[in-house]
Amino acid sequence: MRILLDHFSKSFGSVRVIDDMTLEIKDGEMLALLGPSGCGKSTTLFAICGIHKVTSGRILFGDRDVTNVSSQERNVGVVFQSYALYPHMTVRENIAFPLRIRSLPEAEIKRLVNEMAGLVHIGSLLDRRPAELSGGQQQRVALARALVRRPNVLLLDEPLANLDAKLRLEMRSEIRRIQLETGITAILVTHDQVEAMSMCDRIAIMNNGQIIQIATPQEMYRNPRTAFVAGFLGNPPIAFIDAVARDGMLAVENADIRLPIPREADRVPEGTPVVVGIRPENLGTEGDAAIRGRVSFIETQGRENLYDITLANGKVLRSIQRVRDDVSLHDEVEWRVRSDQLFLFAQNGERL
């Protein structure tokens, strides 16, 4: 079901947490709400499921305006970071709870619970209590409970944050698989860009209660709208250096570096101070501009190495390259970058 937040705002007392947000989630899509801690992701989620009242604006499920519909009637499935399983109930009772509330016949409940348990692969755990399950298993139970009543939308609030790295990888693909199999519309709240990029059809990136950009992961990575977006996506993260437009080139002060202005960038008037973003994978052996610096740190990652190079003005850029034997710590190097892979931002962070 399509979900639409229409000029939605939320204040707690006098503090405005979400400011005039408009966001559409298409039917059957999985959208990531990505942003730093405290930017209002959970608040948005709570507004969608009706636990918080909206201060202004509307929320539509399909064509139905649910702004003033109670949470119970919205039929929203929620998976919390802490899973919020009911500790005094067995797994079976947990999954059956939403159905019991709806007074479904026992036989029907049993069948639906079993089917759902099969879907999330916990068929053998049905008679345990939550405390007797691993984190990943609890996560599956929470998913089953959220999905069993066929909700209009599935909301996931940092579902993977409490899992260890290996389980996180596993559950990432599991959640995606289940979402695809059920075809449910889903919103995933996360502050982990890898999660957002690997699991979702589209990403809505948030900061300070506003949506900065909505796009597919690829598009957003290739074409970030602001320095904030560029900085949020990518691991290791993009590096920024200050420069000034001079003679049709970008001069980095005190570093003896001159970079060409990317073709797609707007015209940059002479003397404008700008911020140049360079992704680590774009700094290497190929390109039309040269960057000189000293290797100040080498981090071995196995197949690749991560190099920090310190420019003459003290700024640090990162480069990720296959392991090279010809570079060692403290070497002076001159590496290259392609001008069409540079991101140019104004001082206020807007992309130029």
Binding site: I51, Q72, F80, S82, Y83, A84, H88, I101
Partner: protein
């Protein structure tokens, strides 16, 4: 536990200052089943005669079993009322957005600290006016009301520890707030209910001044009033018998206390905090 000094001086000091208590409680046991020669405290014979009161009812006094039943009814009913009131009101104060919540919470704290005994004159007159004087119902309600603020406070503390996400999940699952409380939250505070129930029962079992003032009659007498009456009766001074009745009366308290001392100490320490 740290420190570089030995701990035995402390043990010794504590033993000395604790001696009177140990002595008194030991003799509470010893004297009920032995006789000692006059002027001595070393028992010289075993006897059960001090327990006669169990099968012999004194003239003019109610039967001990009647009194025990009254005590039990009094303690368990007031405990039940406290549990019901505290489990509902505690939830409201912990979780629900009702007008005047902060005010009510402050009120509970004032009442909790408030000297209920000062109200006893007015309560006495009110019960007389409405005809509940000398009835168990009246004194049960009063006792429950007086223990209620602490109960609400304790239950609020327990409710505060239930994660909000559980309730949010319940609501998203389609349960009404009542169902959420009844089916999802209440089961999580069972330890709290147990501890409070135990505590309230013991408070009721031990209560003296309320039944003494509000329900002194023979039919509704509870153990504390009965025992105090025995002691105050100058014609029959029999310390060993008093102690036997006392031991009979205190036994449930001691047993419950020894089994559940952690719970109870926490309530005395933590429950009254704040």
């Amino acid at each position: 536990m740290t420190g570089h000094l030995k701990s035995w001086p402390f043990v010794l000091a504590l033993s000395i200052i604790s001696a009177p208590i140990v002595l008194m409680y030991s003799y509470l046991f010893i004297d009920t089943i032995t006789n000692s020669p006059p002027g001595s405290f070393i028992p010289h014979e075993f006897t059960l005669e001090h327990w006669r009161f169990l099968w012999e009812t004194r003239p003019g006094k109610p039967s001990i079993w009647r009194v025990t039943l009254n005590s039990f009814l009094f303690a368990s009913s007031s405990c039940l009322v406290v549990l019901v009131v505290s489990s509902t009101a505690g939830y409201v104060l912990s979780r629900l957005n009702v007008p005047g919540r902060a005010f009510f919470l402050a009120g509970v704290m004032v009442l909790h600290a408030f000297p209920a005994v000062t109200l006893i004159v007015a309560i006495f007159l009110v019960l007389q006016m409405v005809g509940l004087y000398n009835s168990l119902i009246g004194v049960i309600l009063v006792k429950a009301a007086i223990d209620m603020p602490l109960g609400i406070w304790i239950m609020k503390g327990f409710y505060d520890t239930v994660p909000w996400e559980i309730e949010m999940a319940g609501i998203a699952d389609g349960a009404s707030r009542f169902t959420v409380w009844r089916k999802l939250v209440l089961p999580q505070v069972k330890p709290g209910l147990f501890a409070l129930g135990l505590f309230a029962f013991l408070l009721g079992w031990s209560e003296f001044i309320l039944p003494q003032v509000l329900a002194p009659g023979g039919d509704v007498q509870v153990l504390s009033v009965y025992l105090a009456g025995l002691i105050a009766d100058d014609n029959n001074f029999d310390m060993a018998m008093f102690k036997s009745v006392g031991l009979f009366y205190i036994a449930p308290v001691l047993i419950l206390f020894l089994f559940f001392q952690k719970y109870l100490m926490n309530i005395y320490g933590g429950g009254t905090k704040g």
